[in-house]
Symmetry: D2
Subunit: 339 residues, 4 copies
């Protein structure tokens, strides 16, 4: 059960609501986000919600039987729109392309990439400064120092930044320079990190776990929301299966199913989803036509020299055609017949 509270609700009114739902055999969780205050009732007793609906201080009340409540479309039927400012929005009919290298490698690279993005009218740059790597002996990113240079160029160009955060201690240092915090697949159930990001007022893009279920992805998003942050993006990046012809198996089913279950935007990462350069485009277009709200794609000035993920990275030339096809497909999607 989700109870949306009036802005000016008094403490006494709150206690009264909590008492009523406790009496009904529900546990209550108080949630305060950048947009609204909520009381979440967790339980499964049969219950007439009208008795709560009429209480002073209650704006609206909804029954949500799903385990993940706040991220469900059952109570919030309108799509969430992530607004990054300067008219850069994702979700609710707003489509974006995010592109850039796997890892931020040098100032020179940032400069070249920003120029490439500007030329193609791309508003969001991706690039890792903290890199989760299987081997402790691999390149682990330029860190905060790299992020500051990243920011300098993007700020000047009016481009937004999405980059991965790996641990709560990094958040404060990164905060000023980041527009979207990315949670990687390996941290998809790092609950302390989710808690901490839930206390931020900047958007969080949450990747599906390496073999995460959709229900787990939504439960992880619920962590962020219930800690106070409503601005969440869900990212499909392929799952681990027995098939070894590609790095991961992009789960196209997840796109329309997540859009159906949740009001949150769904992002397509076909770079990781297939992991082979020449298939990045067809898989991305598939994700767009199936309902995705944005793509996030690895591009590099010289993919064969990339510090990481070169095999799945588009060159700038390839990317220019790719961007056009992605946008064209998004426009085409609007022309499909509806039931």
């Amino acid at each position: 059960m989700i109870i949306q509270l009036e802005k000016n609700i008094s403490e006494e009114q709150k206690s009264n609501i909590v008492n009523k739902i406790n009496e009904a055999g529900y546990k209550s969780n108080f949630v305060s986000t950048q947009y609204c205050d909520y009381i979440i009732g967790v339980g499964n007793k049969d219950f007439d919600i009208r008795a709560i609906g009429v209480l002073p201080g209650v704006k609206d009340i909804h029954i949500v039987l799903e385990a993940s409540k706040l991220v469900s479309k059952k109570w919030k039927t309108q799509d969430t729109v992530i607004d990054l400012g300067d008219d850069v929005k994702i979700g609710g009919g707003n489509f974006q392309i995010m592109a850039g290298p796997c890892s931020i490698e040098s100032e020179k690279q940032i400069e070249i990439t920003v120029a490439h993005l500007l030329k193609n009218n791309i508003k969001i740059m991706r690039g890792g400064v903290y890199k989760p790597r299987s081997s402790p002996y691999a390149f682990r990113g330029l860190g905060l120092k790299g992020l500051k240079i990243f920011y300098k160029y993007c700020k000047a160009a009016g481009i937004k930044i999405i980059t991965e955060v790996m641990m709560p201690e990094q958040i404060d240092g990164m905060y000023e320079y980041v527009d979207i915090f990315q949670v990687g697949a390996r941290n998809s159930q790092n609950f302390n990190l989710l808690d901490a990001l839930g206390k931020q007022d900047k958007p969080v893009m949450l990747k599906r776990g390496i073999s995460g279920t959709l229900d787990e992805l939504l439960a992880s998003a619920e962590y962020i929301f219930s800690n106070g942050n409503e601005d969440i993006l869900l990212c499909e990046r392929g799952i681990r299966t027995y098939e070894k012809s590609y790095r991961n198996t992009f789960d196209i089913n997840s796109i329309p199913v997540l859009k159906d279950k949740s009001h949150l935007p769904v992002i397509i990462d076909s770079s990781h989803g297939v992991g082979i350069r020449k298939f990045v485009e067809p898989v991305a277009l598939a994700g767009v036509i199936a309902g995705g709200d944005a793509v996030i794609t690895e591009v590099h000035e010289t993919p064969q020299k990339a510090f990481s993920d070169g095999a799945q990275t588009l060159s700038h030339d390839e990317a220019e055609i790719y961007y056009k096809n992605v946008r064209k497909t998004f426009e085409f999607r609007k022309t499909l017949y509806r039931y």
Copy 2:
């Protein structure tokens, strides 16, 4: 190594070729299909193929290192076109919709479905008369008797028939009434069935195994081809993964990857690929934009009463919009920019 032979090659010339490749340390397999004769050399020694290329009776020779040779795009770079007659073709830029019930249930049903297909200009009807069912107590299809009625209506309407064959003994009885033999996912590695279908001169649609790899699918197609039948269609119908939000996980990656590896047409079965009615369309459109050559889709006049697979079956009303969107997406695909 694939050696294409001249039509009028003599037995002596053949022996000469075989001797030469055996001397080079290769095993030879003779393959004769409805279109051409071949000698397949299996081995991995280093070898100058020009010594064979100049022999009398040799039309062309190609090195193909892949385990599955005849189905590979490495030697036959042009797409295979399956021609069902009456200008109904699949592959090489020819797109088709195949639709119909999971199981053929009654004469009345066939009549209604044929009318629906005619109205929507669909040229191929699907419908099972031999049904593989997990439980021995479930409905197992109307058999050959059902197929004959199926044929009577389709013949009259100019509609082609695709239907599943489960064992070699059924082939002769079915032959006259079938335009495409379908091999189901559970029989994807039933090698005796593949051998027998390789000896037919009608097309075979081969479904990927329940957890079959792409290499296994191509190897199964190689069985059919090497037994003498070049007219093969590959069908992606979703794979078994840990995710339980849907019946199967449609492997969108497989579409462009199969098109890249093989010259055979690739068919999209999103009915089984996701298994939930309202997601059949977005997943199918994804498959079309990613390069598929046809869709095969379960439709039923009253899905909730279907003998099998009702939950993933479109009603005729839903299907009418679906067909339009599928065709529109295929047309749109041609307008994409190419590198």
Copy 3:
């Protein structure tokens, strides 16, 4: 619902029972095996079985809600014992080792293997004469001719034969020379083959599908039983997962779970279950201690020269120690404390 019938039941009494259960809203299936006649009621209405239990001709009646009824332990709580004659039994406390090459390769090989088995007191020899192979260009077995030689040596030595059957047409030819028909993993849901084997009076060992569920394995066994053959063995041979350190992932959980769900014997194939020679023994011992009724293991006089599966095959020297440890572990299992 399973109704066991008296041996001397009259046709009238049968009709009477069928009528009663049809009236109660159940479909009836008549099953006649080498040991007993049954009526299987399929339905899910609430029902007082005593009304049937008292009818003339009824020996016993059991409610079995599981989809797979005849193979369930819910009605037949005693373990099935497979009796191959000459005091060679499997199940119900009788343990056997089955060993031999993957493929029967030559008369000489059979001779050597039989001597090796006799020396080690092994009573059942495995060896394929019909080989399912992914590639059509690979060795496909010596066929019936090979089986006859196989039989000649085993007969003389008093050793039983288990070998794979791939299609219904092979059954008649093989029947005389086979003690256990093996159904391979790729044919685990080849329902026509299961039907045909259900009409035999010789035991059938059914391998779990490459990514088959336990419920599917039991449903396939139900096919055989409901066609008239009660003598079925279930075989765990590893499943396909994402892990690539070994050929398959032996599913140890399946051993106690199958023993708990079904009265049928459970066989351990750790050769395929792990696919690497040096791990065949620890995985087999794990299967034995977890409750398996037999092991089936690939051994070869010179594994590095085996036509197939050499990497997972034990040499005869290795096998001698292996057999001792397998038997020792089976004896040890009897000494464990029980709740």
Copy 4:
């Protein structure tokens, strides 16, 4: 390449070694643990290691081609023994049982559990105070306060503590009260946590990821070792597969394979590995006979009232028989014949 250094090596000697391996085209990583100093050379050039072996300050040198070097058995052929003090050891022939509730729930519970463990001569108690839970609304553990009470009782009874740590910030607070830090399956690739635990001088038990490969598990262990902590235990706890008859699929293959690849002890968690109470014992015994060095098992005074994981938890009565069988199987393992 792993170079073990002499205790009294000078800085100059170190630089000299580093220079030599850099010249040879290898990157060098300096590792200092509680037991030894190492230089790890990462590269793949052909190289005569004797040129390094003779340098002053070098104790020993080994070529290790595996990606995970320090945890490999290729250079350290003797099993690592984890010594918890008071003669409680794991690995190298020392076997332990770890048991206790999933979550520490109350002081009373600790008291009862400790008495149960003392009675059964169990030396290590498990119990979570920080609980990773899919839903933000579920019980998340008693935290540090709970750990202190846990410690009070165990200290008095001479019992060691293993408990999960979820984030680097928790380490300092927990340090005094913990004998083994546990890393959960969801944090198996939380590299910052691994880095931080690598800087501790207490043992770390690392669980395999929910669908982690063995190579990933070893790479995560390499993180801990290369940060300075050699005392690592690897834990198999079942993997995620398509099979839904149990919570996870215990990967029995991993036990002998990990023992073969690495010198680290391997721990068996059959509670999570199968997730159903009555199968916890047979799966654990399978793990023991296949080579495991310890079991970790969930037990509870009243499993049906457990805050979490009740369905896979043994009662104290069940556990008493279980412990005996586990120990008996370990003793039996020593009597097996060896090649």
